[in-house]
Symmetry: C2
Subunit: 237 residues, 2 copies
DNA sequence: CGGTTGTTTGAACTGATTCAATCTGTGTGG
DNA sequence: CCACACAGATTGAATCAGTTCAAACAACCG
């Protein structure tokens, strides 16, 4: 099967991304020209620890980043993902979450201070930021439903659908290069990796997906959307 | 035991609340003078259905409101709470969540349009809004850890601690008038009401709480914080 | 008083975890 | 090219936390 390069692999540009979502050119330019460094982050290495200051704006150009927390006994929960074209806004005080790469990622990092200055000069950015955080809140809420109310099969199915959608892949036609290990899927869906493995086997046995290593093709896209009760509306912002 | 009136019962004023969190007076005044109506919402009656337009700003003066969603099979999950002094911002398109009162609530409702106008005239509000949504995101993340990684006892304990904190109650000294039914606690923590009931009985048996109807006193505040691995930092915004 | 809403309890069941072992693929250095 | 190490995937068996279903009980309200 021929597969387009997903955004996760190609890398996306900041200014172009901002204009695409409707930001006016001068504001997008100002953000693009903000002082920043480009950082390559390796998966599962510590990048930003929970509790450290988070006085930076970040923009993901390629790869996938995640925010994670852990409960008292050290069990890890991934609470948010950032795909290429998405960003991480600064937190006022020290953040309660850590940052890591899911897959090798290339990100732009600027200072919160510079960012605040640009926003002040271009107030139109506020509306854009507002949409951004709204979308993130929607996704958080959907994840909460996922962890709180769906069984393990539905949770994994839902994550697969969401991942395909956020990678810009049409599950009905294209296959998905899964960026996660089963342990990471467990950390997102609140399970153990052992069970995630069994769910995958079961999804394949039921003819919903086919696997070749980490390549997932959706043998029955509509059915897997149903199983995961995936309604993509919440992703539209 | 003598108990202070919690904020949930007294009602709080918009302008005063805004000034208290650092908004400048003219902006707070402008928001306070925005055209609005005051609505009384009864618990568990439909108030705003999922999928309906959400072109309103709301401010909770008393009671507690919740955002809820349901998965495919109709199992309900409460994804966010709004205590007095907190607000609900408009969503750009139709919201994927519904709104309901947890306890009888009194809320102020204004139009998104008027709100946008005021924000435009007082750009300083943006910083305030930004802190607001950051705090909400933090809480969402914490809830995700709660549902995804903690066992049922810890989930309930954590919710009790969070609720006390958000009601402005010091668990070590004051008792908490629990605003939730056990079913609602189940909807927040992703369980069944049957199990929530057992958890309560167990918490009481272990000497962590004492109950008189819905009045909860924390017999061992430090220990219940530990059991729920409650670190209140995430509430500070 | 009767109706409604919420709480409590029991018994049977099941989905997911835990622990442990094995297998597979990939990369590294000799 | 092989040996080795390592990370991730897979499988099995025992156990347990939480669900489901059903019924009883308590409190409240018009």
């Amino acid at each position: 099967m021929i597969r387009d390069m997903s955004r996760a692999e190609t890398g996306v540009e900041l200014e172009e991304t901002l204009v695409k979502v409707g930001m006016d050119l001068s504001a997008a330019k100002a953000l693009g020209e903000m002082p920043h460094k480009v950082v390559h982050v390796d998966p599962r290495r510590p990048f930003r620890e929970p509790g450290s200051p988070r006085d930076e704006v970040m923009f993901v150009r390629s790869g996938i980043m995640c925010k994670y927390k852990s409960d008292g006994s050290g069990r890890r929960q991934i609470v948010a993902l950032r795909f290429p074209g998405e960003g991480i806004l600064p937190s006022p005080s020290n953040a309660d979450y850590g940052l890591q790469a899911i897959a090798r990622s290339e990100i732009m990092v600027g200072s919160a201070e510079d960012f605040a200055k640009v926003v002040e000069e271009h107030p139109s950015i506020n509306g854009f930021l507002y949409k951004l955080v709204q979308r993130e809140a929607s996704i958080s809420h959907e994840w909460l439903v996922n962890c709180g109310r769906r069984d393990s099969t539905a949770r994994v199915a839902h994550l697969l659908c969401e991942t395909a959608a956020r990678c810009g892949i049409d599950g009905a036609k294209q296959s998905l290069r899964l960026p996660f290990t089963q342990q990471q899927i467990a950390d997102i869906t609140g399970q153990t990796s052992v069970n995630v493995n069994r769910v995958f086997a079961e999804l394949e046995r039921q003819g919903l997906i086919e696997r070749e290593g980490r390549n997932i093709s959706f043998a029955d896209w509509n059915e897997i959307k149903r199983v995961g009760s995936f309604q993509p509306d919440y992703l539209l912002s």
